[in-house]
Symmetry: C2
Subunit: 218 residues, 2 copies
DNA sequence: ACCTGAACACCGTTCAAGT
DNA sequence: ACCTGAACACCGTTCAAGT
């Protein structure tokens, strides 16, 4: 899958591509390479210098495009939130008029994305990055992702299958549940805690059902 | 600014030989100082050398007691899990025969501890530390914390106020909800996402109610 | 405008040597 | 047994200088 950095045995293939002094779109290439390197290890071990080297540029070049390392990380996290919004939108659109089903699909989407980009997911919610206006793009990307959930709850209330109540609070309850499960999965905490090795889909299904039904006996 | 040992302004108070060559309980002191320094910044910026300096020992001394930096971090996280278990136990004991109330108290306890040690909380679930047998103490501390929740669910089922079902799956649903809310609070993601500035207690209460009642309209 | 190389002040970790 | 100091291979970041 990803052995890209251990060694590059046949690195002579750049003979035909005379790298010009000015790079094409260095900013985007740095972001892209950084995202890849991030998943190869973890946020603590991602280095500016390694990113620069990965795109074949001097170790100070990134500072033309990113104020510092945090700013680069904010760029990666922003992309993560955008992917999340997109996946949630797709999941919602796939089951029109079925908010309960949409919730389940949203859960799948959330977990799937998180497990395919675990380090990025950690970064997005790690508190390393400020959530205020320091990185406006990061902030709005996060808001968009939450909006996706709110839309589902709103629709469920409108057609009368979800209980009434503050939409943001209900959305937060649902998000917390999915988010908590996702981070436990990503963090690898579950295998040591559950005595049975459940499939991820079963876990999401179980949690979604509990969120809909509640814990109380009837 | 590197005058490390050339001069210390008022360092004569060690005349009574307070500091012997062999330190009292260096391991515990390192752990303690590391926990403090961690909360002063974040896990990425915590350095072995700074910890050593904080307890007044050479920067290589910590390696007598911790194999590497990760091992030190595991020690901090382990303490965090122990505190969590203890708080959950206290919360549970405070309301005997009232599992629903215990759930709410457990939620308060979880959030309270997390907000008073945010960086430690991030570390505990960051995936930076392996959850397998690499750090047995860390693993069992985590299991103990989860056990606290399972006990509440079990009791609720026993007296018939919680629905039947696999205890671990139900516990996981509950934990996910509380955990998700907690991490969103700790990560600072909520202020940018909720348009109203709720009190933490109200958020926990709202989520606990939703977990008990469920989202479905009746 | 965009990139480089040297430079500085840090890191984590190892190891021979001191007490 | 426990700690130190020098050493090594890294970092992030700055800045004068090159194209």
């Amino acid at each position: 899958m990803n052995q890209s950095k251990s060694q590059v045995p046949c690195a002579d293939f750049n003979g035909d591509a005379e790298k010009p002094y000015h790079h094409g779109d260095l900013q985007q290439e740095l972001l892209c390479a950084a995202g890849r390197l991030l998943e190869d290890s973890n946020v603590a071990k991602l280095s500016m210098r390694a990113v620069a080297k990965a795109v074949g540029v001097s170790h100070t070049a990134p500072y033309r495009h990113f104020k510092d390392k945090e700013s680069l990380l904010a760029g990666i996290a922003g992309q993560g939130f955008q992917m999340l919004s997109a996946k949630l939108a797709t999941a919602t659109a796939s089951l029109p008029n079925d908010p309960a089903g949409q919730l389940l699909e949203a859960g799948y989407a959330y977990v799937e994305l998180a497990l395919s980009h675990p380090q990025c997911t950690q970064l997005m919610f790690s508190g390393i990055l400020p959530c205020d206006d320091t990185y406006p793009e990061l902030k709005s990307a996060g808001q968009n992702a939450f909006q996706g959930l709110k839309t589902i709850i709103e629709e469920g209330q409108r057609i009368g299958i979800f209980k009434t109540g503050d939409i943001e609070l209900l959305s937060l309850s649902v998000w917390s549940g999915i988010h908590g499960l996702t981070l436990l999965l990503v963090g690898g905490n579950l295998p040591e805690i559950l005595s049975v090795d459940f499939e991820n889909r079963d876990l999401i299904q179980s949690i979604t059902r509990d969120m809909l039904e509640g814990l109380t006996a009837h």
